[in-house]
């Protein structure tokens, strides 16, 4: 089904298309520059130059490895929600909240009507796409996750905040499509946290994508996947990206009871582990998916953004993944 959609969008991807979830580690020079920027110790244009340098680096890495659908690597973003909250109107930065141990972060607060300020990610996409002939995905955080990872001082309830955000995220999707984006990934890692809210999360995704022609991917965390399946299939997207790298969940049994109706991105690399998987391990994970769904409907990627790994770990993990995919392609073709 979605192969046909990809074709209508002018995309001819190989069997088991490969991609990544979005973020790549920032090289040391960029991490240092970002720290300096918070102290106003370097200029915005100098930081921008280094962000572009790092984006170009990761674009080359993805091309060299043979990844099929590229990302810009999010070298200019911090947190996937804070980035949008800092850019959109209606948010304040929020006070410090502990995330674990001695780590704290500023959790955004919705303090007024949320508003799209004009294109947020479009220039980054345009520039990355200018560096490669391979398709580059548009990368956004979904309204449910932005709502869930923010405090809400303004809207009467969580649903109202989520739907308001959806209307604004849609404008960013429209701007991306106008720039020429064919594949848009809208991440909703918070989706599984409150199963009873799935209906309005689905309603919000409709508000984001309905009537806008693109191939849509949603990355969701696998943790409590079973609690929102098969309701998750109501999301109006073409591809669901699920982590299976270290899950014992029996996909087959779940899909036998309620057939999986979308394309599936198999998150086959454990991004939270320093250990680099061997191609054989990755291949076994891919084969679990191939045993469950038609190979025409499977994509392959890591199980989350790679930003928590080192540059070398990220590159080595992807090298393993690409080697495994080549082997599987040769076997199952």
């Amino acid at each position: 089904m979605s192969r046909a959609k990809l074709a209508t969008l002018g995309l001819d991807l190989p069997l088991l298309p490969t991609s990544t979830v979005g973020s790549f580690p920032k090289p040391d020079y960029l991490t240092e520059a970002r720290a300096k920027a918070t102290r106003n110790a370097i200029t915005r244009s100098e930081l921008d130059r280094l962000e572009r340098q790092a984006t170009e680096f990761w674009t080359r890495v993805q091309e060299e490895l043979g990844v099929d659908v590229l990302v810009d690597g999010e070298q200019y973003r911090g947190d996937m929600v804070a980035y949008f909250a800092e850019t959109m109107e209606g948010f304040s930065r929020g006070g410090l909240v502990r995330s674990y141990g001695n780590r704290y972060y500023h959790k955004p607060v919705i303090v007024g009507e949320v508003r799209w300020p004009g294109p947020i990610t479009v220039e980054w996409w345009r520039w990355t796409q200018s560096l490669t002939t391979r398709p580059v995905k548009g990368m956004l955080t979904g309204p449910y996750t932005i709502m869930d990872w923010s405090f809400n001082d303004y809207y009467p309830d969580r649903k109202a905040a989520c739907l308001a955000l959806a209307r604004e995220v849609r404008k960013e999707v429209e701007a991306l499509l106008e720039a020429g984006v064919k594949i848009v990934q809208i991440d909703e890692p918070a989706l599984s946290v409150r199963p009873d809210e799935l209906p309005f999360a689905v309603e919000a995704m409709h508000a984001v994508v309905d009537g806008l022609p693109a191939y849509y991917i949603t990355h969701a965390c696998f943790g409590a996947f079973e609690t929102i399946y098969p309701g998750l299939l109501d999301l109006p997207v073409d591809n669901l990206d699920l982590a299976i790298s270290h899950s014992a969940l029996n996909l087959l049994a779940m899909f036998e009871t309620n057939p999986f109706t979308k394309d599936l991105s198999l998150g086959v690399l454990d991004v939270h582990s320093h250990t680099v998987e061997s191609p054989e391990e990755v291949k076994a994970r891919i084969m679990r998916g191939v045993g469950v769904l038609s190979k025409e409907r499977i994509w392959v990627d890591p199980d989350c953004g790679l930003k928590t790994r080192t540059v070398e770990e990220a590159r080595e993990k992807l090298t393993s993944m690409m080697a495994a995919v080549r082997e599987v392609r040769a076997t199952v073709r």
Binding site: G95, L96, V97, Y100, V109, F151
Partner: protein, 329 residues
């Protein structure tokens, strides 16, 4: 009817201003080996005193130690036990907070008392006010752990944790705790395990001495378990009323023979409550309660920035006074 203004559990240990970040700086210095363990403990105890003073200053009558010494709700006690290793991070319910998973590699056993010393510090800081002792319950510890060896099931592990925690409860009671709150947030996700929780609470209740025992649930809808919770051998039931629009109606309808902890102040969001949100619930519920009830946040306040946590407590106190005044008038 006496309505006691209480904190529920955790409290933010730092604020946004540099002067309010002593704990964070000392923690980092300790990790780098720049301060001694004794110097670190002194800072931690100071922060406990500070958060207790802040709660009392807001008008809270029953503060906690803010669980300032807890790395997280799951690993704090478990990390001190024999045959428990501490693993990687896992997300704590639908919060942006992560806890370290205990890995049980054999039969667990207590090596030393964990909570009584912390309680003694808090009690001294709060005097002459009482302070509530708070710990995570055996079922939630078992749910948050990775079971590798030593027990054939998670249920058996929950019973083993109950034995360990019973010793902690006995120590707390001996140290002067008059109310010991045992948190079981995982129960609401697994109502089918209600009997495991009841069995483990029998073990805890036997150790409480003259202290009152509370079971507190949050991060979910307690409505389906409302009757079952009344089978627990506890004096107080802590209920999160922010998740469940119908729970207040059930309390009004069914009544209760326990003291209730009414979690009406949302510990998960910064928006401050108003009388319109709180008073109608109190109107429905209070006539059905016994002589003593608690008004408190829906969960620990550590999910909020420090200034908002304080504002929540101040709001709670102000609303309770306004309510009492309005009903007297």
């Amino acid at each position: 009817m006496q309505l006691i203004l209480a904190n529920t559990g955790s409290y933010p240990r730092i604020g946004d201003a540099p002067a309010a970040q002593r704990h964070r700086r000392a923690y980092a210095q300790r990790e780098r080996g720049e301060i001694s363990e004794a110097e670190w403990r002194a800072v931690e105890d100071d922060v406990v005193r500070e958060v207790i003073a802040e709660q009392l200053g807001a008008g809270v009558e029953l503060p906690t130690d803010g669980q300032v010494g807890w790395y997280d709700p799951i690993s704090h006690v478990a990390r001190h036990l024999e045959h428990v290793a501490i693993n990687g991070l896992l997300r704590y319910f639908d919060t942006n907070f992560y806890f370290r998973q205990p890995v049980v590699t054999g039969r667990i056993a207590r090596q030393a008392a964990v909570l009584a010393g912390e309680f003694a510090t808090a009690r001294m800081a709060a005097a002459p006010h009482p302070v509530k002792a708070v710990l995570t319950g055996p079922y939630s510890l078992a749910q948050g752990s990775i079971l590798e060896a030593g027990y054939r099931s998670r249920r058996a592990l929950a019973h083993a944790y109950a034995e360990v925690l019973a010793a902690e409860v006995a120590d707390l009671a001996r140290a002067g705790a008059t109310l010991i709150q045992v948190d079981e947030p995982f129960l609401l996700q697994h109502p089918e395990d209600m009997d495991v929780v009841r069995e483990t609470f029998e073990t805890l209740a036997a150790a409480r001495g003259s202290a009152r025992l509370a079971c507190c649930t949050y991060f979910g809808d307690a409505l389906p378990l409302y009757e079952d919770l009344h089978r627990l051998p506890v004096d107080v039931l802590g209920l999160d009323l922010t998740y469940s629009p119908k729970l207040a109606g059930r309390i009004a309808e069914a009544g209760t023979d326990r003291s209730l902890g009414l979690g009406l102040i949302d510990g998960r969001n910064t928006k401050l409550e108003t009388g319109d949100m709180v008073f109608p619930v109190l109107d429905r519920v209070l006539p059905r309660l016994r002589e003593r009830a608690y008004l408190n946040p829906s969960c620990g306040l550590e999910f909020l920035p420090r200034d908002r946590a304080r504002a929540k407590l101040e709001t709670m106190v102000r609303l309770a006074r306004e309510y009492a005044g309005a009903r007297r008038a």
